[in-house]
């Protein structure tokens, strides 16, 4: 049981962060707070993916002494996994795009209804 906590606690941190974002997305009435929750959610997923790349006693995936010493054998275990880093670079781009479009839509909503509270907007529908 103690081993389980020691080996997996990083995932639990991201799950807690993700649930904070999830609560903000479904529980809050203010639309800006919902978007902040969505960003926390995405950040938790990015942290989770980057943590899967980690190896104990490994360094960044930049090959050391690469120029001029081509005969060196490359130890794979001493470099981090580069793929999650690349994929999360893409995910950060998508995150920024969704944030930008969401904030633009919020500006439009505010111009139309003069409020960002969800329940006040829904009253216009009735």
């Amino acid at each position: 049981m103690f081993d389980f906590i020691l080996n997996k606690y990083n995932y639990w941190i991201y799950i807690v962060l993700m649930m904070i974002g999830f609560y903000a997305m479904i529980g809050k009435k203010n639309l800006v707070k919902k978007i902040i929750g969505m960003n926390i959610f995405q950040t938790a997923i990015i942290l989770f993916f980057v943590s899967t790349a980690s190896k104990k006693s490994a360094t960044l995936p930049i090959i050391e002494h690469s120029h001029g010493h081509e005969e060196h054998a490359i130890q794979v275990a001493s470099y981090l996994n580069p793929l999650p880093h690349v994929l999360m670079l893409t995910a950060i781009v998508v995150m920024v795009s969704t944030l930008g479009v969401a904030l633009a839509i919020l500006i439009k909503v505010y111009r139309r209804y003069n409020t960002l509270e969800e329940d006040e907007i829904l009253q216009f529908k009735k």
Binding site: W12, S51, K55, P61, E64, P82, V101
Partner: protein, 95 residues
């Protein structure tokens, strides 16, 4: 209503924590994510792309089309921001 939402969030979190039993340990060099395809990128990055940084070579060389699509995403987001926020000028008649 708040209680229901809090209940949903806590149950989802418990299910996810239950799911971490099957995940590899933190920093395990033999985890599935770092044994299948990533050693090939680390080994071949100097021979094939002459770039010491494996992240750069994967991003811009092996998965260049992915990065091209990424710039398309950014472009689409920018265009849609412009389209959403644009204020149309009313045309003057007789001009």
């Amino acid at each position: 209503m708040k209680i229901l939402i809090l209940f949903t969030v806590i149950v989802t979190g418990m299910i996810l924590i239950y799911g971490t039993q099957d995940m590899p340990d933190w920093g395990d060099p033999n985890s599935p994510a770092s044994t299948h395809v990533s050693p090939r990128y680390i080994k071949k990055t100097m021979d094939e792309t002459a770039t010491p940084n494996a992240v750069t070579s994967v991003l811009a060389d092996y998965r260049g089309y992915d990065t091209l699509g990424e710039t398309t995403v950014i472009f689409t987001a920018g265009v849609s921001c412009i389209l959403i926020l644009r204020v149309r000028k009313k045309r003057k008649k007789n001009s």
